[in-house]
């Protein structure tokens, strides 16, 4: 289990400009859905983008988090 604030903190450390939405899918702090919008993703494949997110979360994926549904995007012009 991992606290949502902890997850957001790790993500913002890796993607300081990111807009992040995070929802706990099951209420058990281990199945999350996250949307991350950041310029850091520009020019990277989806696989590479998700790998960047996994790296930002470090050891969270090898235990505390069972599932993380990801949507990564670059910001669209207003």
């Amino acid at each position: 289990m991992l606290d949502p604030e902890d997850i957001k903190r790790r993500l913002l450390a890796a993607f300081p400009d990111a807009a992040i939405t995070l929802s706990d899918l099951t209420g058990t702090s281990d199945h999350y859905e996250a949307t991350i919008v950041s310029t850091a993703f520009a020019g990277h494949s989806l696989v590479a983008q998700h790998q960047m997110v996994y790296r930002a979360l470090g050891n969270a994926m090898s235990g505390p988090i069972h599932a993380l549904a990801l949507k990564t995007r670059t910001p669209t012009k207003a």
Partner: protein
């Protein structure tokens, strides 16, 4: 990564054009994310091989090391890692998965 394990996994990835490492098998998926990818592949009419990682803990961990990707399911097409459930769903909705599978 253990060279024997890497070779074993490489062999599985190369054994068919489309290979899905999943929890359960294509008839009886044992996880919602794996089930969704199976469903998408069926909708595209693609023939694919399923590898049930629940039957082999070394493959279950090995495939994550191999692709530097921490979760299952994992889809490989022509030896290349395409993504997990989120990416496959995204590509399918954009029509890009169908193009990739057909090429």
């Amino acid at each position: 990564m253990d060279p024997e394990l890497k070779q074993k996994i490489q062999g599985m990835i190369d054994s068919e054009r489309v290979v899905l490492f999943m929890k359960g098998n294509k008839m009886f998926p044992q996880c919602g994310f794996s089930a969704r990818v199976v469903q998408i592949l069926k909708e595209t009419g693609t023939t694919f091989k399923d590898v049930n990682v629940l039957t082999d803990p070394t493959v279950r961990e090995g495939i994550k090391q191999y692709s530097d990707w921490p979760t299952i399911p994992q889809l490989y097409v022509a030896g290349q890692f395409i993504g997990g459930c989120d990416i496959i769903t995204d590509l399918f909705e954009k029509g890009e998965l169908q193009t990739l599978l057909a090429s």
